[in-house]
Amino acid sequence: MSKRLVETNQAEADDKNMARLSRRKFLGYASAATGLMVAASACNKEPVMVDNTVTSINGEVDLGTGDFGILNYAYALEQLEAAFYIKVVMSMYPGGSPMEAALIKDVRDHEIAHREFFKNALGGMAIPALDFDFSSINFSSRTSVLATSKAFEDLGVSAYNGAGRLLKSPDYLVLAGKIVSVEARHAAYFRELIMMNSFADDSVVDAMGLDVTRKPMEVLAIAGTYIKTKINASNLPTY
């Protein structure tokens, strides 16, 4: 069974939530389940996303715990970036060179590749597709799109830099490393389109020569402006 949005009444919602709870417990996610139990008791008649995976209650998506939680966190950010560039390419702003348009298409494809990679790598543990709100962006303005691109790429770099230490699996760490340097290449590219020699200026690289880093909560607070779906990151590992 794949993702399906259904209207349910209170009893049905509770039944489904309980079914999910037992599946999560079975998967060893006892602490996450405790959080869901509290949320479930406050459940009303909101639509519930029903699928075979980590799901939402009242539209809230729980990223989960451990390495899978961090991968879902990365998956959420890649969903955001991919959705943004898909929109950019669909209504390409005027004023850019043909090469610029071609390279932004490249970036879109890289982000889709990242998104789909995480989706497949997470399998049944993947969060559902998120909803976004890009109403603050003027897609017909080169300035607006490039500023947002730069912000998203720098944010992505800081997110991977900050989350790498939370991964327990060396394989996932290497994969995050394979992606973050591509995000950094994107960031440098957009920065150069906006201003010559801003590719790694002092706003992102400190006096020790170290790039920007952020904890998941800091990243999600910034990304939250564009993410409609409520994300629960409280079960992620921390430092």
């Binding site: 790498g164 327990k168 290497v174 950094a184 290449r185 440098a188 150069e192 790694a200 020569g209 880093t213």
Partner: protein, 285 residues
């Protein structure tokens, strides 16, 4: 069979081989003791166990960390001196913008040298001495394939791109060894992404100054260097991987992701041996 020659060869890819073996004398003696008692066919196995002892016995976690930091320091020494040297040349750069770009990159590489040296000391280790470099890639002869690197801007950018792309791959290649490494891992990741920003900028410069062969982009397509030199190819081999953790990225889940995009979307790591082979010609033995 001449053990000195064998050790000499190994030293080319692992300068610390003698440290691992305690001393050359002890290694020779240990081997001589074995050699007298063994049939010739058994010698390779004996040699293997000798090195296995040398490489396996010394690695406590802290030793590994210090070794990785010194490896990174060596690469940062290479980059820092490369850019510092270039900035002293009066006729290399075509304009002020290119000088400003290299000044910023040099500032970061010099900062990385200081940061890593301090991190090594803080970890109870000894920072390696700065090697003597030969940026012509002539192993000290000064007469290698890049001997005009500080007079030809095109060649300079070629070598810069190779160093930056290699640097990105080098950090990535050793990340797994410091998984869960806390602040140190975070710092390594933060240096790693700065190198990637540099790589993208150098690639943009190559495009802008017309020195790139073909369609040079801020990211790496396939295993193409877009540089007219076979000497740099080892820095790009393996970048054409399109399978990540068993997942095929080309046309993933029905999305039209081309072979090129699939390779660009993920940068690949390099092993220590691969990196040392790449930088070997730039170091005077």
């Amino acid at each position: 069979m001449n053990l000195n020659n064998i050790l000499g060869e190994i030293e080319k890819t692992d300068p610390e081989v003698y440290d691992r073996l305690d001393t050359r004398r002890k290694a020779m003696k240990e081997f001589a003791n074995l050699g007298g008692k063994l049939a010739l066919s058994a010698v390779p196995f004996a040699l293997g166990s000798l090195f296995q002892k040398a490489y396996a016995g010394t690695t406590s976690t802290n030793d590994t960390v210090v070794e990785i930091l010194n490896y990174a320091l060596t690469l940062e020494f290479l980059e820092a001196e490369f850019y510092n040297t270039s900035l002293m040349k009066s006729n290399l750069f075509p304009d002020g913008d290119s000088i400003a770009a290299i000044q910023l990159i040099a500032k970061h590489e010099n900062a990385h040298v200081v940061f890593l040296s301090n991190a090594i000391k803080a970890s109870g280790g000894m920072p390696v001495a700065k090697p003597t470099f030969d940026f012509s890639a002539g192993s000290g002869s000064g007469n290698g394939p890049f001997k005009d690197v500080f007079t030809s801007f095109e060649l300079f950018l070629n070598v810069a791109q190779t160093f930056e792309d290699t640097g990105v791959r080098a950090y990535k290649g050793r990340a797994a060894e410091i998984v869960g490494g806390g602040d140190l891992l975070t710092a390594a990741l933060r240096i790693h992404s700065v190198e990637a920003r540099h790589a993208a900028k150098i690639r943009i410069m190559r495009r802008a100054y017309g020195s790139g062969i073909g369609n040079v982009k801020p990211w790496i397509t396939g295993k193409m260097s877009n540089i007219n030199s076979a000497a740099v190819q080892p820095s790009y081999n393996g970048e054409d991987n399109t399978n990540q953790a068993g997942i095929d990225i080309v046309n993933i889940n029905g999305f039209p992701i081309t072979m090129d995009a699939a390779t660009e979307a993920f940068d690949e790591g390099l092993t220590k041996a691969q990196v040392l082979a790449i930088v070997g010609p730039f170091i005077k033995p």
